[in-house]
């Protein structure tokens, strides 16, 4: 094993260009080894200057690639980030939150990644950097399948960027699992709502663990506009239609398809109610 832990981003990008395997919090790569040692060339990003932390500029929030989930919890952020903070609390345990990174969660590209729905409702973009390149693509395009991403050889994720146009309103996250802590989701949802006098002006709704890649329910979001946030019956039909159209859950050891479809609708109602309560 060759283990690199550079201090400068350009050094990291050079190593990435040479094919080094990227490690940050280690909470996905090390468990997969089942006690064996790392092998090959490893690029540890956690010492790279400037990659850790959440910063705010005039138009955007930037979540650096080595920002831990505990950093998200501790950050002073607007209510639109509440869903992300709630998701952060659900990532593994305090120990995992202290090591695991937001960027690692999306790069790992698990269908049950706790962070992805909340980032989707924030319209997060992913900054991909190579030795001689930098590009910004929407998160929804970054994760392309189960454990697959749009990362090209030599690229690393250097940040998530969130436009302030997507940080208005209130938000909430709901996760359903078979136990309290350290649990992989049966299903999870994040919602962000812009409310005015109890009416929904704008809505973003995302669902995880019910399709190969977590998805926004855009049809349902459009249907929510103008509705009274306290009347779930008004959106039931649109919700069911969009769940059928956009989600593709599977039977696994945690639940079956029918259960997940039912649970998602209930979780969304709960998340909307929770977000609305925040908005009061």
């Amino acid at each position: 094993m060759t283990y690199h832990r550079p201090l400068q981003l350009n050094q990291a990008l050079e190593l990435a260009a040479m094919g080094a395997r990227v490690l940050a919090g280690g909470t996905d790569i090390l468990p997969a080894l089942q006690g064996r040692d790392l092998t090959g060339t490893v690029l540890d990003l956690t010492a790279v200057t400037g990659l850790r932390g959440i910063t705010e500029s005039a138009k955007r929030y930037r979540i650096g690639a080595t920002t831990r989930w505990s950093d998200v919890i501790a950050a002073d952020l607007p209510a639109a980030f509440d869903a992300l903070k709630q998701a952060a609390h659900e990532v593994g345990s305090v120990q995992i939150q202290n090591s695991g990174t937001v960027a690692g969660n999306i790069v790992n590209a698990s269908p049950a990644a706790d962070g992805v729905p909340a980032l989707l409702v924030l319209d997060a973009d992913v900054e991909l950097s190579g030795a001689n390149s930098k590009r910004l693509i929407p998160l929804a395009e970054f994760i392309t399948g189960v454990r697959r991403t749009a990362l090209l050889p030599g690229e690393i994720v250097t940040a998530l960027e969130i436009s302030k146009s997507a940080t208005s309103g209130v938000s909430a996250f709901q996760k359903l699992g078979a136990r309290k802590y350290l649990v992989i989701s049966i299903a999870m949802v994040a919602v962000r709502l812009v409310l005015h006098n109890g009416r929904i002006e704008q809505a973003a709704v995302a669902v995880g663990a019910c399709s190969p890649v977590a998805r926004r329910l855009t049809g349902f979001e459009a249907a929510l506009r103008g509705l009274n946030v306290a009347q779930p019956s008004a959106w039931r039909a649109a919700l069911q239609a969009d769940i059928t159209a956009r989600l593709d859950p599977i039977d696994d050891i945690r639940a079956n398809v029918g259960y997940r479809i039912n649970a998602v609708a209930e979780l969304i109602d709960q998340a909307i109610a929770a977000a609305a309560q925040e908005g009061e």
């Binding site: 832990r5 919090g25 468990p31 120990q95 202290n98 078979a178 350290l182």
Partner: protein, 894 residues
Amino acid sequence: MTRLTPNTPLNVNGVVRDIAAPTGRRLSDVLRDELGLTGTKIGCDAGDCGACTVLLDGEPVCACLTTVAQARGADITTVEGLPKAGYAVLQASFLRFGAAQCGICTPGMLMAAAALIRKVPHPTTQQVEDALGGVLCRCTGYAKIVEAVKRANDPQPKPLKAEIGQAVGARLERLDGQPKVDGTEIFGADATPTGALLVRAVRSPHFHAGFSFGDLAVWQAAHPGVVSVLTAADIPGVNCFGTIPSFADQPALAETHARLRGEAVALVVGDPDAVHALDLAGFPITWLVLPHVLTTAEALAKAAPQIHAARPGNILTSGHVQCGDTQAALAAAALTAEVTIETAYVEHAYIEPEAGIAWMDGDTLVVQACTQAPVMDQEETAKVLGLPKHRVRIIPSATGGGFGSKLDVSLQPLIGLAAMVTGRPCRMVYSRAESMTSTTKRHPSYAVARAGCDADGQITALMYRGDFNTGAYASWGPTVAGRVPVHASGPYKTPNYDASARAVHTNGPTSGAFRGFGVPQAALAQETVYEDLALAGGWDPLAFRIRNAFRDGDRATFGQVLHSTGIGECLEALQAPWAAAKARAAEWNATNHHIKRGVGVASCWYGCGNTGLPNPSTIRAGIRQDGTIVLHQGATDIGQGSNTVISQIFADAAGLPVDQITLIGPDTALTPDCGKTSASRQTFVTGRAAQKAGEALRAKLSNSGEGAAWRGRVADMPLDALGYVVSVEETYDPPTVPLDENGQGQPYAVYGYGAHMAEVQVDLRFGTVKVLELVAAHDLGRTINPMLAEGQVEGGVAQGLGMALMEEYIPGRTENLHDYLIPTFGDMPKIRSIFIEKPEPEGPFGARGLGEHVLIPTAPAILNAIRNASGARVTRLPALPYRVLAAIREAGSD
């Protein structure tokens, strides 16, 4: 470039240490292997269990997910550094509140707790649960850990001391607790002498497969550092072990084909770094995959592959108990009910994977490994390795949870073989996946029960048929098949009874012993049909059970006349909590529509000790010339507390102070056989031997129990053959009568009884269940140590809750602790223990066993409560949300 070189310094517990290991190694490995800080435990290497939690700059992380490079520059605190960091109060609090049982999770708990109380000196329950939720415990049920953390910074009272003659019944801290909280306890993986070789097993990736080896010598030569490659051909003795000699069928290393996934077929022994780094995927072996069966239904099918040639139909054995005329009684019953119920494989999920070390001491093979049964390990290791028994010495390491699985040998013959062949100390540490795939499980069961009662609600008959998936090898399958029909009536009068159970081989994991030996599965069927009858008859479920409970003088289905039966008292103790919980649920349900509450009850009984077979324990004690009181205590303490309980019994019987006893053992060279830690027998059987030994010592000392006058007398006395001025050795074996062909006899001398009441809430939208409160009433005969007894109850309830709601081991799919779920801090109800003390004449000071009883009623009580809350009659366990929701809908459509 910033590539780090060896000699990376680490600042551990305030001391800067140079490290030779590569910077990409796990911090957990480096702390343990290189710095000798073995207080940091490794339970999963995946962040799933939290046992390896350390502090980096005050914040908890899993050391198994942290590389050395990432830890460089940080202040690292491990359990060994807690006193220096100011957390001795936390360690003391863990002892005072009984928060450490086996102790394997304790360092991780302490570290997570230290991080919390640094910020919040007096945390709430919720804060403790959130902060410690990433550390799993399989023993305690978490309640005492929460209490210990909440009150760590409270004023410190002095530890309770028992006066002479008052140890029994006293809430003493465990006598062996200190090493569990300071990180010095030596578990199976913690003995690492320099020069020891590492052993790894090559295991079958298939459920059923033939195999042949390539050129092992060539492979070995190509892998520097490998000292030896061992296969079945190298085994000098009989390559066949089994906990019950007449059913022994399991090879230490498979010979020509593997019958289960994870079965060991070869060993690689060598330099630890080299062997650790090996990729065994390249080992020269060719597999021929064979057809396999994983369920009893598949195994019983006509065309099923035969797993053992001598066991036609894949049936290992069966057990049967009958009395009266069950068919006629069922036909004549006013009400009848029937259920078909299915339970899953349940994994023991102790936080310590199997581990140990073996070495040669002259011509004696010494094995120091985690175990529940040192003498059985000695016998089986000797058999496999072709040694006379006296040339194998077993020194049990501290055992980080067992619950039945560590009754079977696992690595003992393997490391023994490696040590014999190489002549060097040989270590082996199972990975979590190895532990989960290759060791035993709770039997999955498929059972049909039919019960009938008369118009007054008196049970008239019960029919029970159970098929138990015993997996690839016999292990304790015969015991389960035998115990189930004896116990399937529950602690209820059943005049007509017909119960049988079969142990059926499959290519699944071997099912063995797991807290209750099949009785928890049987209780689920019986308590479900009892609930059916109570509901159909319009009787209060608790009153229905009280009406049918055994009373003194009743005859059990197997013919034994029962005495000192505490089940009626246990159920009656639930009456007030039952009424209160019913009222609370009704009030809640009047105004809540999505989330409904309900209450359920179930009972248990359990015979303590072997079923109709001898199982003696022998206790030796002596006084040294300097007055030291020595107790040779051979009952393996796997966290349940026998080191403390046996000492309490012995001390009071001898009239000696419990806090001045020096404990020796267990160690097959130093302690007489106290049998295995199973079947809830140690407090009863070894306790009774300890009582006899104490009384004998008291007589020899002519000790009135009033002071230490005897000390003056012993100083000048000559030494006996054992090196004591006075010594005693006493044996106790419970009187039993084996069962005849109709299952009639006196299988146990002593029974324990209990009943649980569960209060749950069920979310009707999701089928999720939260157990709010659990009241556990148990007849202990005499409570030797209330704190340890509560610990048993709370831990048993946690395992019962897991079995009820989340635990389902799926071979090939859930071989880790994130897909296989056990309860966390946040899943536990408030637990209240009620101890009934109806003296058992056969038990020491009237005491009976408790360890397994505590798990049996939990799952059926929870299922009955789910039904009361939601109407859902769940018949497939675990009651995962989707299954509960389906059952709710089914009930609603009736």
